[in-house]
Symmetry: C2
Subunit: 464 residues, 2 copies
């Protein structure tokens, strides 16, 4: 009877315990573990403790909460499968993006509610739901008595602020973290019926630019016309960073970029992500972009520059006739191989030196710095994951070069020498980093089933 096979037992376990699992998920989402705002540092600690406790009650061993300069890294392991079985390093982050702008949320960002088939809350899709999709699968196989892979867990609380502590941590704990490969569920799917393997990631170099004009705010009537308004200077500097065709004008910005090959262009074209698709995803009536590239090429294989924030002067209700003394922009670039964040930092500083007006002072601060990466699509664990996805969805997964940055992938490769299997159950419309972030519950459930298949096959089958 197939019903009593360990695989089906595991699936049954998950399905009959779904309500309980769902409650725990909501509990995790209620902790506002926002890493970008230090007001929430107590909540980050709370989320770390919650996760460590969860690993312990699952029966994971050696669970430890390592303090770092900022937020804890959680470690745990399960090594009972023995030395002839593979060891998987499970990576995740329990911190979330700030919920701003607050007034666009239809419900509280940390008060999960079900809307149709979605569960709405900050962190639901990015990535508390992805962490639990891994843990619930493992618990289910454990319950079925069929967990025959070794596991190590590393969960950080600083991913959304550029992971300042994890590189040192991995370097200092190379032996502890020794594994065969990493499973990272922080990437997404192209659609609810398109399970996806991500093999390429853009890097990120994130900056704050400060402009100082007069040494105090001035009355725009009494002094308007004789000082260089720092908000004007900032606008001019930002405007000058791109030409009309969308090309980025930081000096030498494209010098190191590896052009996309014709082969890869053909592959990416097969993803069938047309302009219409992206217009719907972004809610715009007209796309934009560097001339000569399709949207999917632009997102996956071309570098970009975006303004992430602007602040100057008075932005409250009504007119305030002020010339601000300072102006600030947050600006980030997405990088492709072989650009490095250090290069871009230099290019931006050179650009400011060449273009900032003499009447203002300026400062550039680099906030995060992650290299780009492209991984091997034929790696055995990747193929094993591909098969698990196929068993649940009944279709061939697609391969994608992603626009986002998951710098931990490069670090795993460079420091531990291991590949990452990069997938996950986040959909393009999940509004991650935006108000009303949610996770599509049917996709999440399928994801847990796919994870069950993956762990089960890897531990119990000769080939998967």
């Amino acid at each position: 009877m197939t019903n009593t096979s360990p695989l089906n037992k595991a699936i049954d376990h998950f399905q009959s315990n779904y309500d309980l699992y769902f409650k725990k998920f909501e509990e995790f989402l209620r902790i506002p573990s926002i890493s970008a705002d230090s007001t929430y540092s107590g909540d980050i600690q709370k989320a770390a403790t919650w996760l460590a406790d969860y690993l312990k009650q699952m029966g994971m061993q050696s669970v430890q909460v390592f303090q770092t300069a900022k937020y804890p890294i959680i470690y745990g392991e399960y090594l009972k499968a023995g030395a002839n079985k593979p060891t998987i390093l499970m990576y995740g982050h329990y911190d979330v993006q700030p919920p701003d702008p607050m007034d666009e949320w239809k419900s509280g960002p940390f008060e999960p509610v079900i809307e149709g088939k979605n569960l709405v809350a900050r962190g639901s899709s990015d990535m508390k739901g992805q962490i639990l999709a891994g843990l619930y699968a493992i618990e289910s196989i454990l319950d079925a008595g069929a967990l025959n892979v070794n596991l190590k867990f590393i969960y950080e609380g600083e991913e959304e602020i550029g992971s300042p502590s994890i590189v040192e941590f991995i370097k200092e704990h190379k032996d502890l973290l020794k594994s065969d490969f990493c499973l990272n569920l922080d990437a997404g799917m192209l659609g609810a019926d398109k399970p996806t393997i991500v093999y390429g990631l853009r890097g990120l170099a994130y900056f704050e630019i400060y402009i100082q004009g007069p040494d105090h705010d001035l009355h725009s009537g009494l002094f308007g016309g004789i000082v260089y308004n720092p908000a004007q200077a900032l606008a001019e500097l930002i405007a000058g960073m791109k030409d009309e065709s969308g090309k980025i004008l930081l000096p030498g910005f494209y010098d190191a970029v590896i052009p996309i090959s014709e082969d890869e262009r053909r592959e990416l074209a097969r993803l069938n992500l047309d302009e219409k698709y992206y217009m719907k995803q972004t809610g715009t009536s007209q796309l934009y972009g560097e001339a000569g590239y399709t949207p999917v090429e632009q997102i996956g294989a071309r570098p970009t520059l975006d303004v992430n924030g602007l602040r100057a002067g008075y932005t409250g209700e009504g007119p305030k006739t002020v010339i601000p003394s300072t102006a600030m922009a947050k600006i980030s670039t997405r990088l492709v191989p072989n650009q490095t964040p250090e290069m871009v930092n230099q290019q931006l500083i050179q650009y400011m030196q060449e273009h900032a007006p003499a009447q203002v002072k300026w400062e550039v601060k680099q906030l995060s710095s992650d290299p780009a990466s492209v991984a091997d699509r034929d790696y055995f664990a990747t193929q094993c994951f591909v098969n698990a996805l196929k068993e649940v969805w009944g279709v061939d997964p697609v391969y994608k070069r992603e626009g986002g940055s998951i710098p931990i992938v490069s670090h795993m490769k460079d420091i531990l020498g291991i590949e990452s299997v990069l997938s996950g159950y986040c959909l393009p419309g999940d509004l991650i980093h935006s108000p009303n972030e949610h996770i599509h519950l049917p996709t999440w459930k399928n994801g847990i089933l796919a994870n069950i298949h993956f762990f089960y096959n890897l531990g119990n089958k000769d080939a998967c």
Copy 2:
């Protein structure tokens, strides 16, 4: 004995009651009557009541608090001098600018403290201190039994938000407000030893520009490169509003501008306000401005455009990799005769139509709209005020065209047919509209003495 002359009695009264007057001043300053932020509407009402009560206890008659659509207008009168004596309309505003940015205040904006010779608080100089400088002078002359002018008072609570109610109010109360001229102490002095008459004022047209790109905030990794970032579009639009020589590029912006005459250039040059003076006032190491004009010409006689506020995306601590769905700028232009705010509104809309990228939606909102004005320097009441200033300071006052907007001056002229005497005791370094606004107490006291001379001379001398 000169000591017992009514004039000296009035001066004595003021000097011996100074502590009490100072306490009442502090009491007035403690009311956060911020008109731009509706959170403070209760405090505006409180300030209105405080001022109306003050007029009543001075013995002013028919004191009334007129409700408007927003904040009250206070009226009061003193008509005992008789029909053959002049009637002065005392204008003032009891509302203040928002205190932002809060973290730059060294003390609470509504907790007055003495710092050296200054009293620090929002509204101290602009213009609660100026209102009281008028009232304390009147009280002092009343006490000396020598108030032989008629007075009418009109105080509004909406000056800092563009005075949306006062025009209608004046139109509806023309008889009530009938006077010979207006005394408006909302202008300033060029220095503690330079009493000043302002005869020209720039107008103001203030706008909010909204840009909408994608219909929700996007992850800059997942979508960066294919959407027109609204913050980028806003920066480009602002950058394009001026050329490198500081010339404003709104279509037709200078068409109506009356060029400054050679005569006036010579007069303004005699003010002796050089670049060094303005560099010190503004705290900049290098000035800026439209080519071909001195700073004092630029401020007084040339129109300008300034960014007063910028807001887009995430501006909190740390990196948030968001493409904002909207961006907003507050932008204002200072106008000279014969430009009108309506012209500028049309020019800005035309500019946006011609330059906003097709990928974004935009909206322009006009927040305030005040015409420019130039007044007659030889007007009898102006000359009477000049003499009062001279009696106290011992120097000839200077005449200035001011950069700010005091639109009420045009309204007094247009609706009531009366001239305004425009002066006041605010110094250029008083940081009005900025953090740490203060009033220079020795100048304020001199101002009260000058007001005493003015009211006394006007009521008791044949020529003044």
